[in-house]
Structures are given as C-alpha cells and as structure tokens.
C-alpha cells in the first residue's frame, strides 16, 4: 500500500520549514523517571539502507515508543543478516530475545530524489505481520514519517491512537524575555510563535491545530490574542476594560470561552473566535474562571470560589444547571476534561503541595498523579493517555509528563530557561 501523506505533511510544513536552517539551540532533554508495570518488548531493526542518510527513521521510532513508557526496546545487536521485510523475520530468533514484536523496514532512493520508506510490524508470538506500509517522502520528512510509523505501531499494539505526530506549545522565560514556542511532541524543532518582554500565559490550541489563543500582558493588562500558526497574523480578541484571560476553544473551533472583568468580577463569557459577540454564560458573586469545554461542547467545567474556596464546577450550557465536582480539600483548580468525556484532570492543593490529579465524574474517584510540590497547568494529550504539566526542578520551571494511570513519568528540562504553561496540541489533520 502506498500512502501519500500530502495533506498531513502540509500540516507539518510549519515544523519542517526550518530544518535547513541551523538553529542556535539550548538542549531540551526528556528523562523517563518512572516506568510502567507492563511494557511490550519490541525490537526495532535498523532499516535497510538507512545509513545512507544522517538522520534515519528507526532510531526516532524506537525513541518515540520507549519514551511512551509502554514499550521496552529489545537489542538487535548481532542479528546478521538484518531482516528488512516481514517474511525475513525469524520468529524463534526474536522469541529467544524475549521480543513480542519486531519492526523492520527499508529506505530506497527514487529517481526524483525522494525516498521510498517501507516498514512492517511483525507479531513474533503469533508469527503474523500486523501492518506493512510504504511512504514516498523527502529527506526533510524523515522525522515526521518516523513519528507517523511510531503512531501506527503504538495503535496496533496498545489499541490507543499514538500522539507522536502531535505538537506541544509552551512558554519560556529567560530574564524578562518571554517566548511562546511550538515544538514536536518529542521536543524537537521548536519554533517561536511570539516573543515579548512581558509575561505570556495560557496558550490553547484551536481544535484543528492551526491557531493558538493565549494571554499577553504586553499592554499592561491581560489581553487574549488568537494567532494563526500558518501566517503568524494575530488579533486581540478580548481586550475589554479590566482583565481578559483564560481562553478555551469550543470543540467546533468557532467560539471561545474567556474570563472577562468588564462587568465587574471575573466572570465567564462565550464569544466568537474572532472576538465578536461576548455573552456572559455564568453568573456568580465571586470568581468564575478557567472554563474549559467538555468534549461534547455542551458543558463548561470551571473554577469558582462561589462556595468559599476555589472548587471545580460543571455548567450545562443548555439547561444552565451547575453542579459542583470537587469536594475533597480547600483548593481544587485548573480543570481539563479528558477526551473520553468521563472525567477530568485538575490541580489540587494538599497541605502546601500542588499536585495533578484525575477525577472520574461517575464514581467521584480521585487519583493523585504527581507528588508536587509546585505542579500546575496540566494539559491532556489528545488520546487521553498522557498529561503534560509545569513543575519545578533545579530552581527552575520545567515541564513534566505523567501517564493517566500515574505510572509513567517524564521530565523535560531546558537549561537556563524557565519552561512553563505546556499545551498539548490536537491530532494532526489526516
């Protein structure tokens, strides 16, 4: 099967466009600090002819899978000749190495300068080929192709959609220099979206991944902007008297929930994504903020101090009915609905520690995912399996990620800069 991923690559164009430009860069490293209980042992055999190019494919595939915490890489050392096609994979040899699955592939230059990349995933327990695909790509598309292959393998073996082709947005602070950046989910290829000498916060991806909403203090007050990632053009969509903050996209990408103070107090409004027609949707005498849409678009979860302490509530936009969701503790904030609609991730304060936790709406079961003490701003991967959040390490802000069951833990550290406010982007458009 030949898969031409033109539209998909158009999405990736932003990330790819600077690959030819040498970047002055600080090193961002991902450290896996805790592994899952059960990991799938998988061997990624270097692809045939891969050594022709400085950046191959198989190494990136293996790094993606291992970093997810769901896989353990099995050594391929000493296997001669290396298999490049499914039918060349000798099951007993790999079973002896305790591998359950083997990935093989090849890379072949084409007359037009592009490269034919093929791979197969073999279940060596059942002795069957699970998937085989080929891609015709340019050298600049190797990394994006590797992430796509890792996504396919991840989905075949775990049943969940992979997020290796997604991107993350985050904010760095170096002295008084603030930058909003977008990078691949593995931290590669960071691109500056906006720079400012005043704080930036709350980046939020539009559902189609083409725009970011965020809050900037560059006008000596919080103002909500929406910026196109394709053109760089931006617009102040909420710049009313008072403070304008906490943007959140509706699932249809046409509306934003925002917190405005123009009518007194921090209250939640819905407005068109271009800034028109702000309408107040919640009313309280105290603070209402941090609204997020539930995946069905019919409700908002939000933080309010209407009960005396900050707690999380859910409001049905049709009926207007408001229901309190958190009861345990005196500080529960920053709700982030899970994509399955069944629960949310949020931040709780336990003593003086701020921790990321999950709440199941039906059972009211809470699970604490992180230890704190200063964890904040969680953002859920589009497959609902990982949560990226802001934490502290070495006296600086760092990013960290944890699996939704709390078992896999990663830290993303960049030296000399504070990193904060991560936002996990949506699945790429197919």
């Amino acid at each position: 099967m030949i898969l031409l991923l033109r539209r998909w690559f158009a999405f990736g164009l932003l990330a790819l466009s600077s690959l030819g430009v040498p970047l002055a860069h600080a090193q961002l490293s991902i450290e896996i600090v805790g592994g899952a209980g059960a990991q799938i042992p998988i061997a990624i055999v270097p692809f045939g002819n891969e050594g022709t190019w400085p950046l191959g494919i198989s190494g990136v595939v293996g790094a993606d899978l291992e970093r997810s915490g769901m896989f353990r890489l099995v050594s391929t050392d000493g296997v001669v000749p290396r298999p490049v096609r499914a039918e060349e994979v000798q099951g007993p040899l790999w079973r002896a190495r305790n591998a359950d699955a083997v990935v093989v592939g090849s890379m072949t230059p084409m007359p037009d300068g592009k490269v034919d990349v093929r791979f197969a995933l073999v279940d060596v327990v059942k002795q069957t080929s699970l998937v085989a695909m080929s891609f015709t790509v340019t050298q600049q598309q190797f990394r994006v192709t590797a992430h796509k292959i890792a996504d396919i393998i991840y989905e075949k073996l775990t049943g969940d959609r992979g997020v290796f082709s997604t991107r993350i947005a985050y904010i760095t602070r170096q002295g008084t220099r603030y930058q909003l950046l977008v990078a691949d989910a593995d931290g590669n290829d960071p691109q500056t979206v906006v720079s400012s000498n005043e704080p930036l916060l709350s980046p939020r991806w539009s559902p189609d991944g083409t725009r970011l909403a965020y809050v900037s203090l560059e006008n000596r007050k919080p103002v909500v902007y929406v910026q196109s990632l394709e053109t760089g053009a931006r617009r102040a969509v909420a710049n009313f008297r008072g403070s304008n903050s906490s943007p959140a996209w509706a699932p249809d990408g046409r509306r934003l929930a925002v917190t405005l103070t123009k009518d007194g107090g921090s209250q939640v409004y819905l407005m068109n994504a271009d800034g028109g027609n702000p309408t107040r949707v919640l009313t309280s005498s105290g603070i209402d903020t941090e609204a997020m849409f539930t995946p069905d678009g019919q409700s908002l979860v939000f933080t309010s101090d209407r009960g005396g302490t900050p707690q999380i509530y859910r409001a049905n936009l049709l009926s207007g009915q408001v229901e309190r969701l958190t009861f345990d503790g005196s500080y529960n904030v920053s709700p982030r609905p899970l994509p399955d609609g069944k629960g949310m991730v949020f931040v709780r304060r336990d003593g003086g520690r701020f921790q990321v936790a999950t709440l199941d709406y039906a059972t009211r079961q809470m699970q604490v995912l992180t230890a704190g003490p200063g964890d904040e701003s969680p953002s859920v991967a589009p497959n609902g399996k990982m949560v990226i959040y802001a934490s502290e390490g070495g006296g600086r802000g760092i990013l960290a990620a944890v699996s939704i069951d709390g078992r896999v833990k990663q830290r993303l550290v960049a030296p000399a800069v504070d990193v904060r406010e991560p936002a996990w982007g949506p699945f790429p458009r197919s």
Binding site: N188, V194, S266, E290, T303
Partner: protein
C-alpha cells in the same frame, strides 16, 4: 520498575532563531498604550511606581505635582494584603482615602489599579485573585467619591512578582495592589 534514559533533544529557546512565518508576529494592537507592542518594551510597570518616584521628582517646590511629591501620601501607591484575603487593612485607609479624594477633585484624572498575588497556585486563578484585590480598593475609592470611569482594575496575577523570593516575606510583598495614574 525504574529505568533511566536520557534522550538529548533539540530546543531553541533563543530569539531570532528562524525566519518562518510564525516568528515575530506583527502586532495588531487595539489599545493605545504607547510602546507596548510585543517585544518592544521592557518597562516594568508593576512595582516600579513606588520605588521610582523618590529619586525622579524634578520640581519639588510648592505647586509641584502632588502625585510625585515624596512627602505627599499620594506618592504612596501600594496596598498590601494578607494571605488569601481581599480586605483592605486599616493601615492603608489613609492612602486609599487620599487617592479617592484626588480623583474626586480631579475629574479628568484616570488611574489603573494593578492587582498581584504571591506565586502559589494556578496562574489563571491568580489572575482572578489579583483582580479581586484591585476591585476591593476600587470599591472603596468609589464609595469615597471617585467615579467608576476614573478607575480601571486589572490583574497581573502572579506573573510580575516584585520580590522573586520563595518565602513568606517575599510572598507578602507580592500580595499587593499598585496604583498607576494615566500618563505615568
């Protein structure tokens, strides 16, 4: 199971690292604030008002701007709050009353009250907390005769701490409203 793996990844956290369309957005600025475009100003408006005033007064004789006279209470611009509190403490009552009186006597005067919080907790929730503190001082001033339209309340949340420390003394300095008059 605990396994340690370090994967070196590339991050360019430096300015001007590429020329793609996403770099340096054109500023479509709806406000009239001078020099406030993205990346164009390093002005620290939050905590500078109080400390910058003392040394920078030019005219000091009779008839000097009372807002800049270090001997005038109107040069005092900060109101501090207790933890988790929005109550304007009695010790700041004379300051708030003086500014309210100034606004009442100078109907063209406009001020912004900038609310701030300490570093603990959610960034967005702290924006709302800071707003509540700014609103508390505004409410008091309007009760004392200032007009609603003279005062805009905004919040910097925990984004612009006056003191970058991580202890109670630093936090106390950051739980604060700053008063800034238009044109300052």
């Amino acid at each position: 199971m605990r396994n340690y793996l370090w994967i070196a990844l590339i991050a360019a956290a430096l300015a001007g690292c590429s020329t793609t369309p996403t770099t340096e957005a054109p500023v479509d600025d709806r406000s009239a604030t001078a020099g406030a475009g993205a990346g164009s100003t390093g002005a620290q408006t939050g905590g500078a008002a109080g400390s910058g005033v003392t040394g920078s007064a030019v005219g000091t004789g009779a008839g000097a701007n009372p807002l800049r006279d270090p001997n005038n209470i109107l040069s005092k611009r900060s109101v501090y709050f207790d933890f988790d509190s929005f109550v304007v403490k009695d010790e700041y009552r004379p300051l708030v009353e003086a500014h309210a009186r100034y606004l009442q006597q100078n109907r063209n005067a406009r001020m912004t009250i900038q609310g701030n919080t300490d570093e603990r907790g959610s960034r967005e929730y702290n924006i709302a907390l800071g707003q509540k503190r700014a609103d508390a001082v505004k409410r008091m001033m309007t009760l004392l005769g200032a007009q609603d339209g003279q005062i805009e309340t905004v919040s910097f949340g925990k984004e612009k701490p006056k003191n970058a420390g991580h202890d109670e003394a630093s936090w106390a300095e950051n739980r604060r409203d700053d008063i800034v008059y238009a044109g300052e």
